[in-house]
Assembly symmetry: D2
Homo-oligomer: 152 residues x 4
């Protein structure tokens, strides 16, 4: 996980609820932000993917464990790792962790994991709303990123 | 205001923030729900308006006073009145009030007004994103509704 | 599932995203609304539970399959069934289904299931944020409701 | 406006609606983020203000003009300027502008203004929910910031 893509998330009032903590569904927003930014970091803009290729991504499954609540003002990170890659779907392992500096060498020591998720997205044809393979260049981009993570 | 269209709004956790009250931007969601339901009550479905007529509504101005906060569990009403009607725009007077039964005869006694708003929406051409007149039938529907309010 | 608690959900603009469909995290809001209303139907107000008993509920795990997207204007139902009940936690089976009238006799015919979820909530002490047993009366209320479902 | 505090806002799917543009109420979230970060830039943490001083801020009035819609993927900025400062309230002039680099010398040339807002917040006693003066140090911090803007 320490080599995962990481994106900072600051908690604002909009994210919290009257229980004093972040409303549970909002962690899924944070995970989506990280996926969008990870794609952007690979040079993939979803708007272009839609206009040029007629493709869009939708989430088909989410499995999320909420361990420790975040609160107003917290500075978190949403991580993003590809756990499984197919031609028309991607499964991400995503965590919400506290702090910027906790990418230590020992994963077990990363005690600041607030939320863990496993999110599967499907690549769909915009018109037919049916699964369609991602473009070859994109699949290679993702494969290359995964390889660099493992090598790193 | 007592003859205004009224739509019930129950406050859930998603609507509140860690201050213990409804997050201010969410009252604008409630007002939009009431506008959608008011249009629906006139037989106007925005999806059909888009597909058949190539028209959509966007909010161009919002003026909102937040007087008294709502909290989790409250049962409110969002009201909807047309304050001004033009060919390509509508200005609504909208309140968020407490309780279902407070449509008394004396407006001054309606002490349960939590939020008051004045919202202007424009009718746009979906493609050009430019103002375009609402369909004649819709304008007449709205004029008829306003007349019935004043007569009632 | 046909005997499950059901709560109507109308889709507004706030619920959708630029993909033209309901934003995935928002289905978790709908499920929370159904849980809140199910508790309310049992005479349990979460605000009172917090003030009188010092208890609150938090979601600790969510497992959600997004099968078919909902769109602006759709009238859905969020269902709520207790799959597992312990002293300090409840696991719900929750679906988002299309239409009001699809509670037919044949579950297999209930083809309008858009989203299925399994949501676990924990009962926490408000101060210590540690698991604490629900009040005995509440546990009995829930057991009674489950029995009536099976008998029904 | 060119000297105003500026905070970057990236548009994600969560911010948009099925009209293909940012949902109108969400611009008020962006403005709140900018106000939170502006306070943070002055060394004021709202959580501490609540715990140490028993003070919180609530929005009492919002006046917003929505001129040009933002879309998924846009990189915007939310600005924050103090238009009026009293002992127990602050009125902000806030814009949502496109791009990071458009803080040119000529305000009239700043054509990338999508949304303009005027937001008034009140400082409240957390217990009584009544207006209370901000701490003297905070008022001076704000006065100093405003002076530095005008001098700059």
């Amino acid at each position: 996980m320490n080599n995962a893509f990481r994106w900072p998330i600051r908690i604002y009032w909009e994210d919290t609820d009257a229980g004093g903590i972040v409303y549970y569904a909002n962690y899924l927003k944070f995970m989506e932000r990280a996926r969008s930014e990870w794609l952007r970091s690979l040079g993939i803009e979803q708007t272009e993917l839609k206009e040029r290729e007629g493709l869009m991504f939708v989430v088909v499954r989410a499995e999320v464990d909420f361990r420790t609540p975040a609160r107003y003002g917290d500075l978190l990170q949403a991580t993003c790792e590809v756990a499984e890659s197919r031609r028309a779907s991607l499964t991400f392992k995503q965590d919400i962790v506290r702090g910027i500096e906790n990418a230590g060498a020992d994963p077990a020591a990363d005690s600041g994991v607030l939320v863990t998720g496993r999110i599967r997205i499907a690549c769909l044809d915009v018109e037919k709303f049916r699964p369609r393979s991602m473009p070859e260049a994109m699949l290679q981009e993702i494969a290359g990123w995964r390889k660099s993570l493992n090598d790193g």
